[in-house]
Amino acid sequence: MSATRTSADLGELGIRRWLAALRLGVCATAWASLLSCGGGDGGSSGLSGGGSGSGSTATTAANVASVVANSGPANNTVNTLYTSVTVCLPGSTSNCQTIDNIQVDTGSYGLRILSSVLTLSLPVASAAVGNSLVECTVFADGYSWGPIAAVDVQIAGETASSVPIQLIGDSRFPTIPADCSASGGSEEDTVTAFGANGILGIGVFKQDCGSDCVATVEPASYYGCSSTQCVGTTVPLANQVQNPVALFATDNNGTIIDLPSVAEEGAATLTGSLIFGIDTESNNVSGSETVLTVDPSSGYLTASFNGDPAALSQSFIDSGSNGIYFTDADIPVCTDTDYSGFYCPATSLDLTVTLQGVNSVTSTVDFTVDNAETLGNTNPTFTVFPTLAGTNPVADSFDFGLAFYYGRRVATALEDETTSVGTGPYVAF
């Protein structure tokens, strides 16, 4: 589908000029590594702005995967974190494929890989209702469609056997059910539309749907499909797409994302660590961090912003969001339509927000909002912007995206799993 609409049609959050500059600049220049043009999975120096620096000692540990924020495989993202994942036919150590540019997302659950980058031939799981098990995955911005297959997953030195994952855009199942597209809006089953070769959902939940899909045929969810038609189906918990971390043999109670801090103007790329397990190894020990439990159904916590006593009840911390998204009518939004939806304050703003967990524990966070147009125009090849913020489409929500993770060590404890400082689901930093 070509982008024939005007930017005004397309509306907010446009960063066309920014991304165009990325395409022309980053890929055309002799960029020292393959990172920004989609070939790499780590190894760049990135910036080290005085973060916790654990990566230097931890990158060789079996429970640490290297992660990088860059423009992704389609050279069209900012503030988006990627890693590499190896998948094998169940039980095989030779029929394997390592796939880079897998987005690291604490806002979803389970591993999904674009079928177009997969060379392994994987048998599709069976549905309770008969035929093949195929899923409609609805994101806020669209949906992904494809079958479920079991693979052995290896990330860094961690392995999990027979993990149900989704193969997005698999040509074996070309027919998309009407209620899938009716809930999802539009399909994002290509690397360009998806902005990644796949997504590693390592949020607080162990399955993507959970108990809802065990008891009830949920619309726009799981289906039993022949090559020509699909019927909605229930799915036992174990057959749903699984958060691979929960199935690791060890270090399976959660994750820690550890990223260095970044200079205010941003950086070309940023490398850090994804550490598996909490209080399971010497490199993932809990300390004095604040533990905020999240809603066991939604994953939400609450936030209070600008002294407004009204709690923003649909708030969340999400490595899959590319900015800090909140509502403040006093901050000007960008006038350049390429940046509309982002904030463009006249001067840099230092702001404060207070998070509150379901456990009533609070944490006050300082953050800075800079003019998005200035950020992008000053350094058009940058892909890491710690002060990028935008309007939140939902007034009751404060979304702490990847920028929140810069300069922090953010732990995500899985539901029902215990660490030395609490029981998940929680987020700690």
Binding site: M1, L13, T80, A182, G185, D212, P219, V394
Partner: protein, 164 residues
């Protein structure tokens, strides 16, 4: 707390009866964006949901509780037409049903955005802003929210802040 009394002159006592029946009956649900709220009736049981109707000074709110646990709210004005729909919960409702004739416009704009990756660059947000239609969504897996409204059809006395 006593709810504000509607100032709308509902000539159609028939609708009041329907709304009252709908409030009691778990099988009736949903009007559609841009269409008369009588589409509550024609849409019938498509959502298989229970509905609550509240009259406010400048609009009427239909609150539809889905079996999935999600909530769909529909806002209708004095002209009886639905000018906004809002959803939240673990699963996104059938937006083709909720947006009616505007769904295709929304889906096409979103597709164009994804192909170009210009409107958004994450999976957590989407904003489509056109002259006749605004769609805004946000959220993560198991907790998704959004709203669609017709900017030119919002009744006087209703602010965007009311549409949530």
């Amino acid at each position: 707390m006593r709810r504000p009394r509607s100032t709308i002159d509902f000539k159609d006592g028939w609708f009041r009866a329907l709304a009252f029946a709908a409030a009691l009956c778990p099988c009736v649900a949903s009007a559609t964006l841009g269409e008369p709220e009588a589409s509550v009736q024609t849409d019938g049981a498509k959502f298989n949901a229970s509905i609550k109707v509240t009259e406010l000074p400048s609009y009427r709110l239909h609150e539809i509780q889905m079996p999935s646990g999600s909530v769909l709210k529909e806002f209708s004005g004095a002209d009886g037409k639905v000018f906004a729909v809002v959803w939240s919960g673990p699963r996104v409702p059938n937006l083709r049903q909720a947006m009616g004739q505007y769904f295709d416009e929304y889906a096409a704009a979103t597709s164009a955005a994804q192909a170009a990756r210009t409107v958004h660059s994450d999976h957590t947000h989407l904003q489509i802003r056109k002259a006749d239609l605004v769609v805004q969504t946000s959220g993560h897996m198991r907790a998704l929210s959004g709203r669609a409204y017709l900017p030119q059809a919002i009744p006087s006395g209703v602010s965007l802040g009311d549409i949530h």
